[in-house]
Assembly symmetry: C2
Homo-oligomer: 355 residues x 2
């Protein structure tokens, strides 16, 4: 995206001060007109067509001069629309949520919508209460990101990476069959047969389906995955450490493997650390396959081969879907599930098996 450079320093006098808030009533008094007239003109309602241009201009200039800004609360209360949605994420710092959020925002900002963010931190109580609190705050809909649905509000809901089928909830999910095919296919073609897997944490929505589809794709090629070669991530830290620990556990079993299929890039990075500490070089001795394609993946050392998940787009799609649910002009319900496609990004962390 091309950008013009900003002026590096802003002169203080360029900063605009703000007058005190003025209400429509005050503005009307100042103009000796009724609030009705002002409201009609300022929102250019159809019935304002009988108001002469001269009066309209008076209103507009006075509004600008006195810095009139409608009170969103009052307006929202009256028109029963807040142009606000709620977004529930596990935690903000994990990269995953931030990416999705970024997509959500990009779709929302054009339409004058804002969003309230809330993190549930995998806590049961928050999973119950957060949707209620958001409803209380009159959000028009909710986007949940990698979050189990405990409470279905009477509002449109879109769940990113949700896999439960719930009435009124649209799931935006990766095509996991395809993702597993890409990953296992790539490893198989490189000659790998002893595949270890880092399975996701129990609380992660994708854990089960990821594991199931990987297993299936492997079985389809007559390469069963040795149960001893599956290690589950534990703990909700967003750092690579969880992958490091899970890999250590894997190595401790002594069962040999030629490749490690990680649950995500972050855990793949931790895994590589664990492998190299044991004297295993990546990808010479062991290949490592990531998932997600976060920014760091391309620049890691070695650059990660990974299954790209279009998180930004998923957020964008989620927001657009929610908006279309909210606009009463759209009649057709969105499908219960919207699939997005993964991409295999081959870099340096996987290579052909030697023996």
């Amino acid at each position: 995206m091309p950008r013009r450079p900003n002026s590096p320093s802003v002169r203080p006098e360029k900063r605009q001060p703000d007058g005190l808030a003025i209400s429509l009533k005050q503005l009307a008094a100042h103009l000796e007109l009724s609030t009705t007239t002002l409201s009609l003109v300022l929102n250019n309602a159809p019935s304002a067509k009988s108001i002469p241009k001269e009066t309209k201009d008076r209103i507009f200039t006075a509004a600008k001069e006195l810095n009139y800004r409608p009170n969103y609360l009052a307006r929202s209360l009256r028109v029963q629309r807040t142009n606000t949605i709620g977004v529930i994420v596990p935690e903000l710092s994990d990269g995953y949520s931030a990416m999705v959020l970024n997509g959500v925002e990009s779709a929302l900002s054009g339409d004058g919508f804002f969003y309230l963010t809330a993190s549930h931190l995998h806590r049961d109580d928050l999973l119950e209460t957060l949707p209620r609190v958001l409803v209380e705050r009159q959000v028009e809909g909710i986007i949940a990101v990698d979050t189990p649905i405990r409470f279905v509000p009477n509002l449109p809901v879109v769940n990113v990476s949700g896999h439960e089928e719930i009435d009124g909830v649209t799931n935006v999910v990766l095509n996991h069959q395809h993702a597993a095919e890409l990953g296992i296919g790539h490893l198989f073609n490189l000659g790998h047969r002893k595949i270890a897997v880092l399975k996701g944490q129990a609380f992660s929505s994708d854990t089960d389906i990821r594991w199931d589809t990987i297993n299936e794709a492997a079985r389809r090629r007559n390469v069963g995955i040795d149960p001893r070669l599956c290690s589950q991530l534990e703990g909700d830290s967003p750092s690579p450490e969880v992958g490091y620990l899970a890999t250590k556990k894997l190595l401790a079993t002594g069962v040999k493997f030629t490749v490690l299929f990680a649950f995500n890039d972050i855990s793949a990075i931790g895994a590589i650390r664990a492998l190299e500490e044991t004297g295993l070089r990546v990808p010479v001795d062991v290949s490592v396959l990531g998932f997600d394609d976060v920014y760091a993946a391309a620049f890691y050392n070695p650059a990660l081969t990974t299954i790209r998940q279009p998180l930004f787009e998923m957020g964008k799609i989620a927001a657009k879907t929610l908006l279309s649910k909210l606009s009463e002009t759209v009649e057709t319900d969105p499908p219960a599930t919207i699939n997005v496609e993964p991409t295999l990004i081959v870099r340096q962390s996987t290579s052909r098996v030697l023996d």
Copy 2:
């Protein structure tokens, strides 16, 4: 933080459905009482002490049964408080903002506050309009993160990593003198004298002060920084690529250096890629020093030596400061600037100079 594991699957019948919203008026009609009484009881106002317990219980149970939730808009409009603040960030996906945001949220959530997020994407028009729009939405205060202030609303403002002194704006900033001392001191002690620097993008608040303090700390040790060994980051991508490109430019000049002090960890990662592509090993041939200590830093290969900036805490402090500005019980104004201290984290990307 200890956590009990979640049940991995939730039985559908455990999901709570939501009844339609009911208003206070409806609830009052149902109980054959006035809305006044209900409001007094539900908010247990002092004047509700004359209401007998029996009536109170009737009200509470009916509210629970009919699932009454007060409309936050209406309440906010009446009491003139929204318990909502606005947060303006450059972009969500860069890790930096997400970390700060996480801290903000942690301080806010206990106090029943929520926040609206807006990204300015370094665009001049958004820098002007976003604060206004947030004011329109009746936020009670604004936290700006690494964001120049173009428009000072008539509200408490806290600027994380802001360096302009503006009336009514509190800056939460790193002690950059100390940070530069830690960094340059570390490099100096390792014998480095030819120091290259990756300077931040023009739009980043910390760029100038970081550069100035580093220069000063170097000069204090009689090691001037060769102007040809300073390369500025360009472009607003949050990926390591900007560091990669800036380092390539540095290498193209042919001027030798023994260490590279990067603007942040992300650009340090890009720098290492560029160095290794040229056949320079880190830290054997060139040391690299990062800044921030993001999650990836500890697990990068080589693990990054870096100056840790407590971003989570800075967000938390910013939010707490804003809240104290908002509570009229606190009389004393917070200081114009709040300093936080950096820490030097020594890992594998720096080593003693050989010659």
